[in-house]
Subunit: 278 residues, 2 copies
Amino acid sequence: MKVITTVAEMKELRSQLAGSVGLVPTMGYLHGGHLELVRRARMENLTAVVSIFVNPTQFGPSDDFDTYPRDTERDLALLEKERVGVVFMPSAQEMYPEGFSSWVDVEKITERLEGKLRPGHFRGVTTVVAKLFNIVQPDRVYFGQKDAQQLAVIKKMVSDLNMNLEIVTVPTVREPDGLALSSRNTHLSTRERSAAVILWEALYHAQELWGKGERSAQRLRQEMTALIASEPLAEIDYVSVADPETLEELEEIDRPALVSLAVRIGKTRLIDNTTLGE
Amino acid sequence: MKVITTVAEMKELRSQLAGSVGLVPTMGYLHGGHLELVRRARMENLTAVVSIFVNPTQFGPSDDFDTYPRDTERDLALLEKERVGVVFMPSAQEMYPEGFSSWVDVEKITERLEGKLRPGHFRGVTTVVAKLFNIVQPDRVYFGQKDAQQLAVIKKMVSDLNMNLEIVTVPTVREPDGLALSSRNTHLSTRERSAAVILWEALYHAQELWGKGERSAQRLRQEMTALIASEPLAEIDYVSVADPETLEELEEIDRPALVSLAVRIGKTRLIDNTTLGE
């Protein structure tokens, strides 16, 4: 396994790789969800490249950049075990040298949900992802369904800017009780960890209602909101039933819908989602 | 010569091209300056691709999009004569389908000179250029020195976003009296055409003063401003003596400098520039 820390070395190595390349962009502190992406990338490409970069530009001033969990040694051991070919692990200075001033910006769908609560977040995401795409030049890039809006934003960027790669979506990996795997779960106390299952319960409840024929998005939002409110440690940022591409809130669920949540459990902000009718 | 009008066909054709590709992005209505770029692209690459696209997003509401000169038949005949391999000539609908909402934005150096007078102009330029780069995937891209700020902005974008290509700068081609070739020159009446030489005269005067040892940027700006003011048909938008990379105005010319002008001759806005000490 090659561990690369500079852009120049990564580009040089890439120019020597024959055959298809699959990229898994991560912020490290890898869990089973990441490893699922890695396995898909290995299976479908001659070379799998995993990037580890806690991207400062996607964190706002009140976000958790400083406390975002990091453990490079453990990450590298996990990737070695998965027989990954290349790990790209640049410094912030390498990715954002002094005077850096170019940005990729997706409008409209970035103004909703996560984007509304975390202004500038998606500009940081699309910019770093565009940079990684240019540095690694992958044929396929693997993202988890857990970050549904991020996925929609990146797909829009790739399509609008005519980027030459395929975005592969991999289903969310969950704990046995339904909690979506996330590096941020590590911050949860035992009591909070129990409370956190409320996100999945709310999504599951929405699926059930929809399965029984409920087609009012407002009804679903109300039911989920009430359920989450019953958990004293949970505080809702948003509960959304929206069009999966435009992320516009639906009134009637007359097409496939993305149900998504952001809920704070104590100081930890968790997101999760499911789709209806897809 | 292949003439391609859709993104999909251009990508398909590109995937079949072996060897290096040189791209010359143009807005058509080709003149000797463009043809110089084309010859360089042909000389230095196995395949030369010329794009012709009057990009609506780089024109502001008060700019000359509607009256920008167009003559596709003549352009194609000229490119055929230069033995160009591929012409990419997409429609606006093809480049900006409904719901398009992704942009590449270079900050700071786009806020000066042209960017100050034409808000949003460079966002349109960088976005369409990034799209063309992704569609054509060139090894080298050819730009004229005439659009000096555009060149600086594109170089900054390529560097910041780690794009995989080389930007080649080609010197400005001039009429015998010094007027820089420009598609917009076609708008000039006979009287205005004579007056338009004032841009080159002012730049030449700056070069002379600098050659004699003048190092005050303010003095150069004053001298050029006075000279241009002596031409009744000329109205100055800006006269600049700046750092060639940051475009910050200089006080003392203690390093290479970019001297640039924007002057309206009647209704036609012309730009030109020269460098000192490079």
